[in-house]
């Protein structure tokens, strides 16, 4: 068996039959992605409409046309409306198999309109990648037995790749001394200013105090996080997946505690895709509801 076949077995598990629990889980997961897609579309739309004045940093497609047109004429809100309607129709498999891709493109435009103000956040990337995987799955693997496996397998592939990519970005951007604890001090200082500015007050929590007291402790915190990123790709192997996911979730809690950056959608998604929930559901669900079969 070649490495490609091995990898495709790990990601798509072609030998395993589709079970009722798998279908129920898949639709619940799709609902989660749809919920966050609509949530982000409206949050970004409202902010763009009422707050954005000038383009500070053009991202993605905004490099090729003047995205500031979305700051006026209620275009960002109209776009959110389209994303909502087409997204819901796609969930219920109403319309065309390529329309999930339309949601993807409209969501991209919504993102580059909202985040044209200088900061590039990544906490919404996993939802974006999931929408893309649903779009590719619906278009190229529309069969009821193929789509859930392709979507979940490709999402797992890109999540693993993303973490390992982040490790190498740090290695290339800084070098082996990236985990020097004083770097964490600088970031804690930077984030403390953000909190002070946003809330009017800031005081360090337990982990921040611990890191600020000792360079060795700060270095250890960074090293554990960095190593966890490196092994992100091991999610591709189904037996290792729950363990890698647990470490990644732990790393996110560490980032939240040390740098006050929350990744709610990220962590919920890791919990959903990193563990074989269908096994649990199969204990209680013996057959797939008819209406659900129509929506797969």
């Amino acid at each position: 068996m070649s490495w490609k076949e091995k990898l495709s077995y790990e990601l798509f598990e072609p030998d395993r039959d589709q079970s009722p629990g798998e279908i129920v889980f898949f639709k619940l997961f799709e609902l989660f992605v749809l919920f966050y897609t609509i949530k982000f579309a409206w949050e970004w739309g409202v902010y763009t409409q009422f707050r954005n004045v000038e383009v500070v940093l053009p991202l993605g497609l905004a490099n090729y046309f003047d995205i500031s047109i979305f700051f006026d004429y209620n275009l960002a809100l109209i776009n959110a409306g389209f994303i909502t309607i087409i997204g819901i129709a796609s969930y219920f498999r109403l319309g065309y198999k390529w329309q999930y891709m339309v949601v993807m493109v409209l969501l991209h435009i919504q993102y580059v309109a909202r985040f044209s103000q200088g900061e590039i956040p990544h906490s919404q990337n996993l939802i974006g990648m999931s929408v893309l995987c649903f779009a590719i799955g619906a278009w190229f693997f529309p069969d009821k037995k193929q789509m859930p496996r392709f979507v979940m397998g490709s999402i797992i592939f890109f999540i693993g790749l993303g973490y390992t990519s982040a490790f190498f970005a740090k290695l290339i951007g800084t070098g082996f001394n990236w985990f020097d604890g004083r770097h964490l001090w600088l970031w804690i200082g930077e984030k403390s200013i953000d909190i002070l500015s946003r809330e009017g007050a800031w005081s360090p929590n337990f982990l921040q105090s611990l890191a600020l007291q000792s360079t060795a402790m700060a270095s250890l915190i960074l090293l554990i996080g960095w190593f966890t990123e490196l092994i992100g790709f091991t999610m591709w192997w189904k037996k290792l997946r729950p363990y890698t996911t647990t470490l990644l979730i732990g790393m996110h809690f560490g980032i939240t505690l040390t740098m006050n950056i929350r990744f709610d959608a990220f962590v919920i998604q890791l919990i959903l895709v990193g563990f074989p929930w269908y096994i649990l559901l199969d204990r209680y669900i013996k057959s797939t509801p008819k209406y659900l079969k129509r929506w797969v």
């Binding site: 990601l11 072609p14 707050r51 996993l126 693997f141 392709f150 592939f157 990236w178 809330e199």
Partner: protein
């Protein structure tokens, strides 16, 4: 999913990965949702953020003085209370190169003249850097004073701090 579909699935992932690379390469690693995830990749660099200080009751001859964070006497204005995203605000202040009248007035618009009322707020840059082997120095640079209907630049700073290119 059968074996053949699984093989095709991997091929589709490969093509997507290729598109991923083609899009992020010329766009500095970012083409949402594609990314090389470069956050925190450049460690140890000095940083600049921004905050607003309420200088209404501060002595007029002291409000423009640069000072260390621990010597701050003016209260921080919690920008979140005014519906302003701190990250966007910080980028707006730290990345603007030409402080035209329109840009300066955008600061008032951001918070709302009705909210500022008769107060005097100092939009300040906050700079952090590693000093020596074991400490981080954070200093506050008063940058633009805003009131409900006017803005004023720091007379102690050179003009090049406000205008770096064509106006």
């Amino acid at each position: 999913m059968n074996k053949l579909s699984a093989k095709r699935g991997l091929k589709v992932i490969g093509i997507t990965l290729l598109i991923y690379a083609v899009l992020v390469a010329p766009h500095e690693g970012e083409f949402w949702p594609f990314s090389i995830y470069p956050m925190f990749s450049q460690a140890g660099n000095p940083w600049t953020r921004a905050m607003v200080l309420d200088v209404t009751d501060q002595p007029a001859d002291e409000i423009w003085e640069m000072h260390a964070l621990e010597d701050r006497t003016a209260d921080a204005v919690p920008v979140g209370r005014y519906g302003v995203d701190q990250i966007d605000f910080s980028n707006f202040v730290s990345k603007t190169e030409n402080w035209t009248e329109q840009r300066r007035n955008a600061l008032i618009t951001m918070f709302g003249a009705d909210e500022i009322q008769d107060q005097q707020w100092m939009v300040s840059k906050v700079k952090g850097e590693l000093v020596g082997q074991d400490s981080v120095a954070i200093r506050i640079v008063p940058f633009i004073k805003i009131t409900a209907d006017d803005t004023e630049l720091n007379p102690n700073l050179p003009e090049s701090d406000y205008f770096r290119g064509a106006q």
